[in-house]
Symmetry: C2
Subunit: 234 residues, 2 copies
């Protein structure tokens, strides 16, 4: 039962896009990719079509595929939309989860914790992605899942910075996020909709703070006296 090269290609491209190994907005060359994954252009194009359907890439008529970009407009929309979808999904997950899904969620959370301990940012990001994707599956809502998936693509890409803590405060934030995951699992297991929505929104606030700090970091320290001199110098 070896996995088909096509499926490998699909999953690897998803992975590389989420980890920004392939940058947002980057052009994808069909022949280069079909060469890399040892499939012909026909199935490769089907993979690209599928990735386009999932929101990972955009297809341009007669001008190939490129990775979905993350411009300012996108980000604005992202911050506007995320809490609505995340909280809706959380509520539905608490109502509709199966025991099997709950087990898988715990398993993924354990793996996530391992990655945190190992300080492996990429693995952390991917397992966090899987964690939230699973909550989407639990919600069992075919209409909302596509929205969640698209949000998670950009969340995971934006959140890379989250898992590469520079300052100790950042490291603490990851710890806290991890605890929130545990609390979410508990609330989902209890079927406590209100609790899981509450924790989810806290989780979002934490994540948003980090991301906004990345987008709009603290200004570099200035030496005012020095600045004044430069002004005169010119």
């Amino acid at each position: 039962m070896k996995p088909s090269p096509k499926l490998t290609c699909l999953k690897d491209l998803r992975h590389r896009i989420l980890t920004m190994d392939i940058a947002p907005g980057a052009d994808l060359d069909e022949v280069a990719l079909s060469d890399r994954y040892a499939v012909s252009r026909t199935p490769l194009r089907e993979v690209l079509q599928r990735l386009a359907g999932e929101g990972y890439v955009v297809l341009l008529e007669n001008r190939g595929a490129k990775v979905a970009s993350m411009d300012l407009g996108t980000m604005r929309t992202f911050f506007q939309t995320a809490p609505l979808i995340y909280s809706s999904m959380a509520r539905l997950a608490a109502e509709n989860r199966t025991v099997q899904q709950l087990g898988e969620l715990k398993s993924v959370q354990a793996e996530f914790t391992d990655a945190v301990s190992a300080s492996d940012p990429t693995t952390m990001a991917m397992r966090n992605h899987r964690f939230h994707e699973l909550i989407g599956e639990m919600a069992d809502n075919a209409y909302l899942v596509p929205s969640l998936s698209r949000l998670l693509i950009d969340h995971t890409r934006l959140g890379q910075v989250f898992y590469r803590p520079k300052a100790p405060a950042e490291s603490m934030a990851v710890q806290k996020a991890c605890q929130q995951h545990d609390a979410m699992i508990a609330a989902i297991e209890d079927g406590d909709s209100d609790a899981v929505v509450d924790i989810t929104l806290q989780h979002w606030d934490l994540s948003r703070d980090r991301m906004e700090r990345f987008v709009r970091p603290d200004p570099l320290p200035l030496d005012v006296a020095d600045l004044r001199e430069r002004t005169h110098a010119v």
Copy 2:
């Protein structure tokens, strides 16, 4: 500038699925379709992949494509999700619409009114679809649009009954829906978010009532005495 057969195929399949000319759950034969639209299997398969990405069809590994079904679980989710997405989109549309989009919306609404006057159920359904799709475009939210699109697919299919009025009461309902469209346009033009959300929810309630009546119609009139006799007879 003649349209490519591929694009014709894509649009026509969408149309036929929405009008249930191709029934929910129906199997799609690649060779039959590629024959019908005069394209080879390669571009046809790309069309199917794209339709799958949009939620019109589902692709089964090594077992072809079938039109997205509308089972009980789907419908339950549909009724649960529609008001959330519709009202969110309405609010965003009022905030983000461009004047050009507003013009197009008015134009589509005029066409819809024409179809109502002409009592052309299929055209009504398709123009109603386009009307709400446009509101999605106005909302300018790449994360929510896929959810709206999927809801509209099922709404349009389910709502066919809406536009084939049997009783005078049904005909009145269509008139009312038409007026609500006008009210939505006015509210969107004014940028009155609260108003458009309010009207949108009323619009949903109207539509939902009709659809639920279809799903769970009034029971057939019984002659109780007669029923009793039958019971004894057995």
